[in-house]
Symmetry: C2
Subunit: 225 residues, 2 copies
């Protein structure tokens, strides 16, 4: 079974047409918060493109330590296989709609060359994005990490609020901590620090407003502090 938590299957076209995919309706599934799309070491038959919602990709160590590998936002593609298997767990943070592709769409240009190239590009973009994440995990301080994280989200899913930018955080502090390689306490303290220095405002626990994007950018890159 590829879909480990049996989400609603909403397969408009059981057989994905090999041609004119932009015209044909695509196979999509919907998955509810907390439900898993796949688990580490599951055989990987499908690749998913996020249409709406947010996914969480994680890996867990034997002793329970967790690393959030990525959050999957609309436009992101998840589930790239290696040796035929997924190598992270993947679940949804909010109700999420996914466009389903077959692994063969990535691995061969036989079916739909355009789709093939699109998936390949997504994989290459993934590699590039992960390299940014490396720098963040390995070489940045807690405040630089959080500032970088907020900036990425801001650029990706920020919404204008008057003259400022608002960001919804569908993930918990623990998720952010496991993404940035920190603890929830450190995340909380760092949010407080950014709030007290008037760089951000925290409306609701899960809603951040960026008051000084320039200041945030300076922090993210380590200019002075």
């Amino acid at each position: 079974m590829y879909v480990t938590s049996s989400p609603d299957f909403n397969d408009d076209t059981a057989v994905i047409p090999a041609r004119k995919p932009s015209i044909a309706r695509q196979a999509t599934i919907t998955i509810k918060p907390g439900k898993h799309l796949f688990l580490e070491d599951d055989p990987a038959g499908l690749i998913y493109e996020v249409a709406s919602g947010v996914l969480r990709l994680t890996r867990i160590m034997e002793d329970g330590r967790r690393q959030v590998i990525a959050f999957g936002y609309p436009g992101d593609t998840v589930g790239f296989p290696s040796n035929g298997r997924y190598h992270t767990d993947c679940d949804a943070l909010v109700p999420t709609t996914l466009i389903v592709h077959r692994r063969s769409d990535l691995e061969s240009a036989k079916g739909d060359p355009e789709l093939h190239l699109r998936l390949l590009r997504a994989a290459l973009r993934e590699i590039s994005g992960m390299q940014d994440h490396f720098m963040m995990l390995g070489r940045k301080s807690s405040i630089e990490k959080l500032a970088s994280f907020l900036l990425v989200l801001s650029a990706r899913v920020g919404e204008p609020l008057g003259e400022y930018t608002q960001i919804a955080l569908p993930m918990t502090r623990a998720d952010i901590a496991d993404f940035l390689g920190l603890t929830t306490e450190t995340i909380s303290r760092t949010f407080t620090q950014l709030r007290k220095s008037q760089i951000i405002a925290i409306d609701h626990v899960n809603t951040v407003v960026i008051l000084k994007p320039v200041g945030l950018r300076a922090i993210a890159q380590g200019d002075s502090d």
Copy 2:
């Protein structure tokens, strides 16, 4: 210019044959230690497969902080482009021979479908490998990081030495530090710690012998310590 440090070009066949690549001699280059194969943001026209030697892939922050993204060992493929550009610097730690592929070999199956698939698989393997590295950077202690690093090298390029396994380290302590997100001092102290507990022996600064692989594995996974 793709090859930023003008390594010896050793192009046996100037035009790479589209068919029967396994029979045709392949385009290779040789690059000397310290010389750069490419730099971040260089336009990426070529993809390289390490035939022999060791590469170092790095990214540098404005203020000089460095992250070693990966070491490229024989069998590894480097230079995957995103938006047509490289996104790390790449240089050689020892004299290194590379098989050269064109970007189009990865991006299209038109030329050589077999090569295309091989490069694609390499990209997917890359993604998988980077995810291991995430867990290491984000969630492991210094000793766990170094133990994990030595185990990976051991499996990859370890050589039997009597009943033990010997590892050559072509990189400096600073390289290892920047790979694991630590300082050279911490790397040095951690080596000493492993040496004093008889888990490893350090013949020469750049030659480690694994005396107790089981112990090393236990440390890498955080089994007590």
